[in-house]
């Protein structure tokens, strides 16, 4: 019995010894607080952050808040107790997470904001495409599409928002409507698809096609909503191109719809670049070193880093995807992760 026990302990010690070098290679564990796994951008962000952070020596553990603010607050409290190298936060609610960010930083844990910018309290780094800016890019594309159709910027736009409780969609709406104000001959009809649920978007499109048959352009705030919108257009006897359509986030479904001719434009959030930027600056964040303002090459995209009142903030441009560039592998929706490895900024 004693001999068996000694042998088992020996094997265990050997296994631990073999594991030690692997631990030594890691610079620490970073927790990624993802708001939900119910949309493809968020699911993609998990894979992208894991890939890029591994390249610079960090392990990533992901916690899903299932779009619940209170769940994310609890997760933050739990993770603070674990004292990780850093926390990457894509906040469910921009304001509600402020105390949790402050608590983490007070405990000496750096906090990185990913995709969703929080300006009400300082954090150690922010990597965003800018949700308001996505609205701006969408407005530029709407302007172009309406001008091509009518000769001048006029017509009717149906804007299908996500859940009205989600600041992400409200920011896109803000940016879009702010820019479109310049065109008084454009009527914008806005409706929310409750809980970002696709069939709700389908119902909105079906109803509006009957009530406003002269709709020129449909702007869905996420690519998966476009799928249901297309189903409603199809059910109403429309063919690709009969009603112009665009959406945002650059998910694979959106790119497929461009190839099939249903979608004119997809405004991409540069998922890979956003994740790569986090990895590039993670050493500086963890070691609490100064991050300098300037322009940085982030896997081929020009990122502009500014030092704001809430901390260093890198902004990466969102791209407009249409038929001419839809197959570009740089777009995350093509699901071809970049082959270049990311290097930490010295």
């Amino acid at each position: 019995m004693r001999r068996t026990l000694m042998s088992a302990l020996g094997v265990l010690a050997l296994a631990i010894a073999m594991l030690t070098p692997a631990w030594a290679q890691s610079k620490g564990t970073v927790y990624y607080m993802v708001p939900t796994l119910l949309d493809e951008f968020q699911t993609g962000s998990v894979g992208a952050l894991e890939m890029f952070l591994k390249q610079v020596g960090y392990d990533v553990k992901t916690l899903n808040a299932d779009n619940k603010t209170d769940a994310q607050q609890s997760q933050m409290n739990d993770v603070i107790a674990l004292k990780p190298a850093a926390i990457i936060l894509a906040a469910v609610d921009f304001n509600a997470l402020k105390p949790s960010i402050e608590a983490a930083r007070a405990a000496g844990i750096p906090v990185v904001e990913f995709d969703r910018q929080i300006t009400s309290t300082p954090s150690d780094f922010t990597s965003v495409a800018g949700t308001v800016e996505i609205g701006y890019v969408a407005a530029e594309q709407a302007e172009k599409l309406l001008k091509e159709k009518h000769g001048s910027v006029k017509g009717k736009v149906l804007q299908v928002l996500g859940d009205p409780g989600d600041p992400y969609t409200l920011d896109i709406q803000k940016g879009f409507e702010e820019k479109m104000k310049a065109f008084p001959e454009v009527t914008i009809i806005s409706h929310p698809a409750m809980q970002w649920e696709a069939s709700n978007a389908g119902t909105i499109v079906a109803d509006q096609l009957v009530a406003n048959p002269d709709i020129d352009l449909i702007f869905n705030h996420a690519a998966h909503l476009s799928v249901a919108a297309v189903a409603s257009l199809e059910a109403a006897g429309k063919k690709p191109g009969d009603v112009m359509m665009m959406s945002s986030n650059g998910a694979p479904v959106g790119l497929d719809l461009i190839r099939k001719g249903w979608l004119n434009v997809e405004v991409e959030q540069p998922l890979y670049a956003q994740a790569a930027a986090v990895a590039m600056f993670m050493d500086k964040v963890v070691n609490k070193q100064e991050i300098k303002a300037g322009e940085y090459d982030v896997i081929g995209l020009k990122g502009t880093l500014t030092v704001e009142s809430w901390g260093p903030n890198i902004r990466l441009p969102g791209a407009a995807i249409d038929k001419s560039n839809v197959d570009n592998p740089a777009f995350w929706g093509n699901m071809k992760p970049p082959s270049d490895t990311v290097k930490a900024v010295e």
């Binding site: 709406q173 409750m194 189903a231």
Partner: protein
């Protein structure tokens, strides 16, 4: 009160939800621009097909005096199973069967079987193991949605096989076939509830389970069948959802459960069990759908939509309570 007046009043009370629906439709037709047109009424019926079918299963279980909170997630699982097998883009495997029409019964069978299996598990745990229906179906609501996220990896399936998608496009008398399927389900299950011993036994179980058992009726078997039916019907609702949206996303159907409960209650089904008809439930579903459509057309500020929706549902339920009070006075 003359017998004739009493008869008329009872008829109105029995079908109050239908009169409420007509009233609401008339009001919206007058005050909401573009509401009064055939296309919009067709949209209302079409939009209520998924919720309607789901509400049938939920109503069956509630009539027996139990409840099933899992129907929404079960529908999502059914939709995702169909999406993964029969969609050709995203995470869809693009399964092809020859002849193509074979994909229709097979996909329905898959959705119904997936739903029926979850319903069977719920039924056995609740009826045989005597666990609480609320807890068991709440657990199923959570784990089944988790399963949807796990099997899809958060990604979506698109481009449903044209043979299946045909049901969402093809129209008879201006209504898509999905809407006719929902109407057929209501007719069939209304007949089952009203004309078969099984239907009557479910109502009796909901009224008094012990008395029904003592009357020699197989309560356990009937209750398990009710749960299996609720799951299977939710699976069918999932199939309709996949057809309607030409695929499946991980959050498909989110929020349907509470609308289904609202429709069932507005439709006159008592949450205590033993009371209710599926005809009323269908009217409840149409009522909710017509409210939704009005909100869509009114161009209300996005932030207030949920508030208005909730208040209108509350008004409908209050009216139903008033109906019960009048009925008690008549008795």
């Amino acid at each position: 009160m003359t017998p004739r007046t009493r008869k008329i009043l009872e008829f109105v009370l029995d079908n109050l939800v239908w009169f409420m629906l007509l009233f609401v439709l008339a009001i919206f037709s007058i005050f909401v621009p573009n509401y009064f047109q055939l296309g919009i009424f067709a949209n209302i019926i079409e939009a209520s097909s998924v919720l309607g079918v789901m509400s049938i299963g939920l109503a069956l279980v509630i009539i027996t005096g139990h409840m099933d909170l899992s129907v929404e997630s079960v529908a999502a699982l059914g939709a995702m199973a169909v999406g993964i097998l029969f969609c050709s883009a995203g995470i869809g495997m693009g399964l092809q069967l020859r002849p193509e029409w074979l994909m229709v019964p097979v996909s329905i069978l898959v959705a119904v079987a997936v739903g029926g299996a979850v319903g069977l598990l719920n039924g056995v745990l609740i009826v045989k193991v005597r666990m609480n229906a609320f807890i068991i179906t709440l657990a199923a609501y959570i784990w089944v949605r988790g399963l949807v996220v796990a099997v899809s990896g958060g990604r979506s399936a698109q481009d449903l096989a044209p043979a299946i998608r045909w049901f969402g496009i093809q129209r008879i008398l201006g209504l898509p076939l999905t809407a006719w399927i929902a109407i057929a389900c209501f007719v069939v299950f209304s007949l089952i509830m009203a004309k078969t011993p099984f239907g009557r036994h479910l109502v009796m179980i909901g009224g008094n389970e012990t008395a029904t058992f003592r009357a020699g009726i197989r309560v356990t078997r009937n209750l398990i069948i009710a749960f299996v039916l609720a799951g299977a019907i939710a699976g069918l609702a999932g199939w309709l959802l996949a057809v309607r949206t030409s695929g499946a996303t991980a959050n498909l159907g989110v929020g349907l459960l509470f609308n289904a409960f609202a429709a069932v209650v507005i439709g006159g089904v008592s949450l205590k069990g033993g009371v209710g008809s599926l005809s009323g439930v269908y009217a409840g579903v149409l009522l909710l759908s017509s409210i939704n459509t009005a909100i869509n057309l009114m161009g209300l500020p996005a932030n207030f939509t949920q508030v208005i929706h909730g208040l209108l549902v509350l008004a409908a339920v209050l009216l139903d309570t008033l109906k019960q009070t009048i009925r008690q006075k008549l008795a």
